[in-house]
């Protein structure tokens, strides 16, 4: 086991990649603080981890609120005395809208959920890690932040690309403090009921096959595959990896 009881925060842990990551870290023996805005999903996710005999704590938090993020980090630090791992999974895009039609409200909502949240969490957690002399952070970006040619959700692509720039900066700034910070850029992932419904619709419309043809592995991923990569980046197995973006897209986009 390469973790030995670390204190981990996973945001967006009520579902999808965040939930799978929380489960993977808990199975390694870490204590995982699951954070999300969805109290029911969060409670269920934490309960299922505890039912397996591992350590999990559900903490409702709106990651777009500096106050709530700071309070969350303070509560965790007060209880556990340290934070070893932070995984920023909270994110997503609800609006399938073209650039010329994006409202200011939609812009802020997406940028706050996907980029500002990462900034707020790191700003709160890094001082705790620095005081301890070590820490690991993984930020979940997206293939959309790499590709730069999405037809819809341009504000999502923007935010996810921003996550990469923020990751690189923070890695270079805090590398000397022994804090490693990396990003993963997932490609297609059957990350939850909403996503699975989207794929089912694609299949109904006959466009799924064409989309899969652009993926070298000819399939979408499951959240566990994304979680394994995040787990790797949280562990000592990646001890010389920092400031990196690991593309987990089945060969849909290669850099």
């Amino acid at each position: 086991m390469d973790s030995s009881g670390r204190i981990c925060i996973v945001t967006g842990a009520a579902s999808g990649i965040g939930k799978a990551t929380a489960e993977a870290l808990a199975r390694d023996g870490d204590t995982v603080c699951l954070c999300d805005i969805d109290p029911k999903g969060l409670a269920a996710a934490a309960e299922s981890i505890v039912a397996e005999g591992h350590f999990a704590k559900a903490m409702v938090c709106d990651v777009t609120s500096a106050k709530q993020v700071d309070a969350l980090v303070k509560a965790i630090t007060d209880e556990f005395g340290r934070i070893d791992v932070l995984v920023n999974c909270a994110g997503g895009s609800k609006d399938s809208v073209h650039l010329l039609d994006v409202t200011e409200e939609q812009y802020y909502a997406t940028m706050n959920l996907n980029l500002k949240s990462v900034f707020l969490a790191m700003r709160a957690v890094i001082p705790v890690m620095r005081a301890a002399g070590k820490g690991t952070i993984v930020n979940v970006s997206s293939q959309a932040g790499r590709r730069g040619s999405e037809f819809i959700t341009p504000h999502y692509s923007t935010a996810k690309a921003g996550v990469l720039g923020l990751t690189r900066h923070a890695a270079r700034e805090f590398g000397p403090c022994n804090i490693r910070i990396n990003a993963v850029a997932p490609g297609r992932c059957l990350s939850g009921p909403r996503n699975r419904a989207i794929w089912a619709e694609r299949e109904r419309l006959g466009v799924a096959k064409k989309m899969l043809e652009s993926i070298a592995l000819r399939r979408a991923s499951v959240p566990e595959e994304q979680a394994e990569v995040i787990r790797f980046l949280c562990s000592d197995r990646s001890s010389f990896v920092t400031g990196a973006t690991v593309d987990v897209n089945g060969g849909e986009l290669c850099f």
Partner: protein, 258 residues
């Protein structure tokens, strides 16, 4: 659960440095090994160390990795002995200590280095893929370098070119053979004490006071060990990276962030 349990793995350049560390780490993870290098005596030392780690007598192939006849022989040996090849690690390569500027580089130096780094990777992959297609699955990991990412080395332009070429080859192979169940990725190591020559070089830099300047460019403010490079190879060779293909994992301690 060992991450490479019963996986037949061919590692080129396994006699020294990162290749040797990969062989040992793979052995710890349950891999069945075939080790290839031109340096027989060091290769036999690695074979002995693997025996201590996992009790296995790994297969050896000694010869010049730039020669197609030798490559064919090696792959054939693996096929005859194990009936399959699960993982190919293209580690053979290096800079041949060519500290030469672009305008002074001779054709012979170009050819020699490109053959050592790119031709070896290309043709080992070609022969290996034929075996892997038969099985409907396989994994290839290519050792590139941060030099192939940065693009601004003062000397060894052909080394940078060769290491970037490996990335291009990686992406192509991933896209072409992904549908047939073969994953292909690269790692790009940064500064690593991978040989006695490099250790001596870093110690000299420290004596002269130039080491700090180089390490200053590394976010983690240090160089890596061969074990740190090898652990990333385990990740890329194993099912932990099952949805990763065509990718390059930077293992440079934050020296180049792309």
């Amino acid at each position: 659960m060992p991450k490479l349990d019963q996986k037949v793995c061919l590692i080129t350049g396994a006699a020294n440095g990162i290749g040797k560390a990969i062989a040992k780490q793979f052995a710890r993870e349950g891999a069945i090994l075939c080790l290839e290098d031109i340096d027989e005596s060091h290769l036999r030392e690695v074979q002995a160390e693997v025996k201590t780690i996992s009790g296995q007598d790994c297969l050896l192939s000694v010869g010049d990795a730039t020669k197609l006849s030798f490559i064919a022989e090696t792959i054939d040996k693996v096929d005859r002995t194990f009936g399959r090849l699960d993982v190919l690690v293209n580690d053979v390569g290096g800079s041949l200590n060519h500290s030469i500027h672009l305008l002074d580089l001779t054709e012979a130096q170009w050819d020699q280095l490109l053959d050592l780094n790119v031709k070896t990777t290309f043709f080992h992959s070609q022969y290996a893929i034929r075996l892997m297609l038969r099985a409907g699955k396989g994994v290839i990991v290519n050792l590139a370098s941060q030099a192939g990412r940065r693009g601004n080395e003062h000397s060894r332009p052909h080394y940078s070119a060769s290491k970037t070429a490996i990335l291009g080859l990686t992406r192509h192979m991933a896209r072409e053979f992904g549908p047939q169940g073969i994953r292909v990725n690269a790692s790009a190591p940064g500064h690593c004490i991978s040989s006695e020559r490099l250790r001596a070089m870093w110690e000299e830099r420290e004596r002269q006071g130039t080491a700090a300047g180089l390490v200053q460019a590394v976010a983690l403010r240090r160089v890596s060990t061969v074990e740190e490079q090898a652990k990333v190879l385990v990740f890329l060779a194993s099912d932990d990276s099952s949805y990763i293909t065509g990718a390059t994992v930077d293992v440079g301690g934050g020296i180049t962030c792309v």
